[in-house]
Symmetry: C2
Subunit: 223 residues, 2 copies
DNA sequence: TAGATTGTTAATCGATTAACAATC
DNA sequence: TAGATTGTTAATCGATTAACAATC
């Protein structure tokens, strides 16, 4: 069966369509054209139609798109409604913040445990979820069918632990450590969130907008 | 004076070059060719040379690049070494995690205060930094020359507060709220960090790699 | 039916890669 | 000098936008 490759650019836009459609739904909007949705989102109608047609024809000529139907279709595409078992590796501030973020749970990302090497943290409970010693991670991942690890470790340990996690059968790593994980195994998906680089980029653009030598040439479009 | 527009794609790669060069420096590597740097980073030598030549010729023919020199030049380009006054707006888990992240301070992003509406949080100190009542934000921003606001508010309040901050003269907003801030004012730069969308994207790719109907067609390249 | 808007093909634009003369 | 590798121009590739026939 042939199916064409979906570009990463398109995939990254899907959650955003989903979010906007969710808002329309909340506001009792029942139908929308690609033109109007594009105007609201700040993208072209063409792009929306091209993107959606990677996955199928969800609209009707002369009418537009049914908001609820399209919302549900995109939910399906994204796999929302599926349940993912998650661990948080590194129970510092960021790890705890992630564990406390309830919206993940609502969307099917169920956090099963946190892990840390720090004995002061081990045994604590964050929102009812236990912080376990890193030594237990292997057994835990294997016994609890863990799909995704949220990695909030310091740079020094991140790569090694990531490789271990992959060997225990984890399917995805959401990486907050400031390293690019080098994992040869193709069965794992890595998504890097380099917060620091994001902040530096922001500062760079501020700096150059202020700079009187340069024209106003950096757009504020981002993400 | 003419200067050509630097594309966003290039700007977003600069911090990554900076990071790799920093690591080379730590390992006492003194020179590197675009070929070897590209191999390490997983990009083409061409891309590195093209990117750098947006800003000037930093290398020498037949030799390559001096690591320390190039590192310093990119630091300069990015404005590292400059000092930015920062506030964290929303002192929940994520806000506190950001305030605790020392690496920001090291790089010149000095957090001056946190703000929250929750009276339980107001008056607390996070790493010696006071959590203040949101009512004080206007005066504080104006009196303390605040450059950047890290916004970790719930969706409902984010847009309104963002608009206010802009009116108080803030230059950049690092937005963690799951909304696209609509700010017409061109003098402010917004960088959105939509963590939830990032996680959904990860899950989507996992799902489709597993799915036996589709070939292995989603690359694990990300960011 | 007439008007609107899709799905889809074609044109454009921009970013990446390749090639190579310049030169250290 | 000969070899290596840059800076830069040209070619390719992919993503975005425009156009329009199909059709609700």
């Amino acid at each position: 069966m042939y199916s064409k490759k979906i570009s990463n650019a398109v995939i990254k836009r899907l959650p955003r369509y989903h979010r906007y459609l969710g808002e329309l739904l909340e506001n009792q909007v029942t139908r929308i054209s690609s033109k109007e949705l594009g105007d609201r989102m700040g993208v072209t109608a063409s792009q929306i139609r091209q993107d959606l047609n990677n996955f199928g024809g969800f609209g009707q000529q002369g009418y537009g798109y049914k908001v609820e139907y399209l919302y549900n279709e995109i939910s399906q595409l994204l796999g929302l409604g599926k349940k993912y078992n998650v661990i948080v590796v590194g129970a510092g501030n960021l790890g705890q913040a992630l564990a406390n973020y309830l919206d993940f749970e609502k969307s099917g990302f169920v956090i099963k445990a946190l892990f840390d090497v720090n004995p002061r943290l081990v045994g604590l409970f964050v929102r009812g979820i236990e912080v376990m010693d890193m030594d237990n991670i292997k057994v835990f991942v294997k016994n609890n069918n863990i799909d995704i690890a949220m990695l909030t470790l310091p740079k020094a340990n991140a790569s090694q632990i990531a490789v271990e996690l992959v060997s225990y059968g984890i399917k995805g790593i959401w990486n907050f450590a400031p390293v690019n994980l080098e994992i040869s195994d193709d069965s794992v998906v890595v998504e890097n969130v380099h917060l620091f680089e994001s902040l530096i980029t922001l500062a760079y653009i501020i700096k150059n907008e202020e700079d009187p030598h340069t024209d106003d040439m950096y757009s504020m479009e981002i993400q």
